[in-house]
């Protein structure tokens, strides 16, 4: 069998949320939406995209082809249900093995692997030790910030912080979503080299979010009058 060789094949790796879960799902948020939008954007730009995540629902397929340029692989690690991030973190070694296995099996050759959150960051870091793949890492949250905020810490927290340091120091590029996140990193992680950290915020689609003109047949009026289908229904 010939290897699947893609010149510009990007792997988007995240184990704490499935980017294809619908909005309103348990852990749906800004970062979640970003992953979904990022993949769509990359496909539009001519990249081939493979999402690699953890299977959090037994009804979901392990492998799904979404159009010609996008696939999603769900690693069957841990129970097929939504798990809190620290619990997902306890499966780190298993996720890493399954990740290596699927890449071998599918013969993926990535231009770049983009990890999200420390668990995916470590899985990708381990992979990049032996493979010449560019590693981009998105921080999403930092263990020592949680500790500073007084949040209840899981038992694997010290290991998490060491892993975060390794991941940030070894990645080719690191993304913080705002200056405050970079400032927290500089302040609380003196062990890391912040020189490869780029601040790239989450974006919003200006074609969806733009100021609406006030009008006689506006949305609120339609809702209030029970005509949700739009201005045509308003007499």
């Amino acid at each position: 069998m010939n290897a699947i060789v893609e010149v510009r094949h990007i792997g988007l790796v995240c184990f704490i949320a499935d980017p294809f879960d619908p909005p309103g799902h348990e852990r749906f948020g800004g970062g979640h939406l970003f992953l979904f939008d990022l993949g769509r954007f990359l496909v539009n730009q001519g990249f081939r995209v493979t999402y690699i995540t953890r299977r959090n629902d037994s009804a979901k397929p392990v492998f799904d082809q979404i159009g010609p340029m996008c696939t999603i692989v769900r690693l069957e690690i841990g129970p097929p249900e939504e798990l809190l991030p620290p619990v997902v973190g306890s499966y780190l070694d298993e996720l890493s093995s399954a990740f290596e296995q699927i890449i071998d099996e599918k013969r993926f050759e990535f231009l770049s692997l983009h990890s999200h959150y420390w668990i995916a960051g470590e899985v990708v870091r381990r992979h990049c030790v032996t493979h010449r793949v560019r590693h981009v890492h998105s921080i999403l949250s930092l263990g020592r910030v949680n500790r500073e905020k007084g949040e209840a810490l899981p038992t694997n927290s010290p290991a998490r912080e060491q892993i975060e340091i390794q991941v940030i120091n070894s990645a080719d590029a690191v993304i913080a979503v705002c200056p405050s996140e970079l400032a927290d990193l500089r302040r609380l992680y003196p062990e890391v080299d912040p020189s490869r950290v780029h601040i790239i915020p989450y974006g919003v689609d200006p074609d969806v979010f733009y100021p609406r003109p006030q009008s006689e047949s506006d949305f609120v009026r339609r809702q209030a009058n029970g005509f949700p289908q739009g201005p045509a229904a308003v007499s």
Binding site: Y202, G203, V208, F209, R212
Partner: protein
Amino acid sequence: MILFAGRPTDSRKGLPLFLEAVTILTTLSGLSAFAIWIVGGSPGEIRHISHLINRLSPLRELHRQGRLQLWGRVENVALAELYSRASVTVVPSHREEFGIVAVEAMMCGCPVVAAKTGGLEDIVIEGQTGALFEPDDALGLAATITAYLRNPQQHDIHGKAARARAMRCFSKSETLALVAQLYETNHRRPDQSFDQVTSNRNQILSHERLSRIKALVGEDEISVSPATNGRHPVFCLKAGGKQFIAKFFTPRFSLQASLFPDTASLSVERGGLISYYRELYNRENPLAPPIRFLEEAGEPLIVTDWMESLAEVSDENLDDAIRGALSQCQSHLPLADCAELAEYDDTLKRVAESPDLSRIHQFDLASAKLNARMTGARLIQCRTHPQIELLRLQILFSENTWPLPTEFRTRVDQIIGLLLANQEIVSGTPKLAHGDPKPEHLLVDSAGKIFIADFEHSRYTIGPCDLALWFSFTGVRGSLGANASRVCERICKLCDSPEERYLGACWVVSEVIFFAVHRFTCGDRRELQVTQNFLRDLPMVLVRNEIIR
């Protein structure tokens, strides 16, 4: 309309804090009727929040009146409709890594009041695109919301700036393109702020502004660099071997309109032409830097001679120099008998007979007419009389106009009561004041003569208004250790008569209280503490220095 969007049961999102702030808002006077929209959450979450709301009577009442609505989860298209119709979007998160709701609202032209945490601090520019308050501070949140409810123009101006910032820094296709670049190269220089992505400097020094400066100065070979970070864009120019300062007057809104209820019939407009006309009115003022070029059309522009800033003089010497300069200003363009002055005197007497907000409003109108000669005939609120300002504050505090901490209110009640007790309202003809004699406005020419830049707050006032403002800027504002004794010593040294000293003290007190309340409605609690500390020792010091008896 006050909008909250987010998972209502997510403890980090701060909905309980928001509901506490709404409860506080229901207790305040002088607020126009407002409505609350809570957007987000599953049907189960909505049921949970409904139970919570029904347990608290002010919220239950708002709900019953249809002024508190739970929308549940809505599609993005509908969400944009809601943001577009809100006066302000509130993001009261206890913790927030980024704050996508704030960006969405800004993109729709809605200003954002957000907790000072995580990415929200970077997204919202305080005083320009919204306000920031200390996390978990319900009073601070309520105070910042009041400013938007009292002054719709604050929504318009902040909303416009919010939309511009969101488009510049958070447009999705551009941020995703930045991510995609990282997959192939590290050549992009890491950014330290959102604004580095597209340089903020380019926004300030637009092609249009540069062209106008060149055309006005009549030089093509000109170097232009931003000079200050104030509200108006100011540039240093070098042309034809000379240096100039160019200032564009952008429109903004009145701070008073965001603080005081019932400012109707007075314009809430500030900046723009009003500032421009005030500068022109003072064109011959011996304190004003010489104007070389000016242009009224569009965004008004004035070019003055460049001068060194006066920064290296000790406080003590500076006080004397400032007094000398400000007295020149006071004697410039004195008011002659006129109908406006007669109306001013008449309304002042009426307030003195029986002070209430209605009479104070009539006095505000008369003051506005008196000052209309320098505002292009626009009637704007001009604080002209320190005792009237204290009376106004006393009444507004007694009517619970702002959600202020009890300790602060107690101090204010005490000092105003003391200053006004057994004192007649001082009459007399108002004199010209600079209105904003900050240290950074002080300039000096090559001969050592002092000038004061920025006459855009200029107005006719009673008593040593400018000196008192100078003492507030240099002795109280921003300093938790502000020393009441030292400020009173300066008043006694620089004000000649007992009446001047008394009026000077009234101006200082009214100014520091006004500023503290204003900062609080911008989410900044620190100035409340500064003022509270200053007022603590002031009564004793005023008596000891015989400023009051």
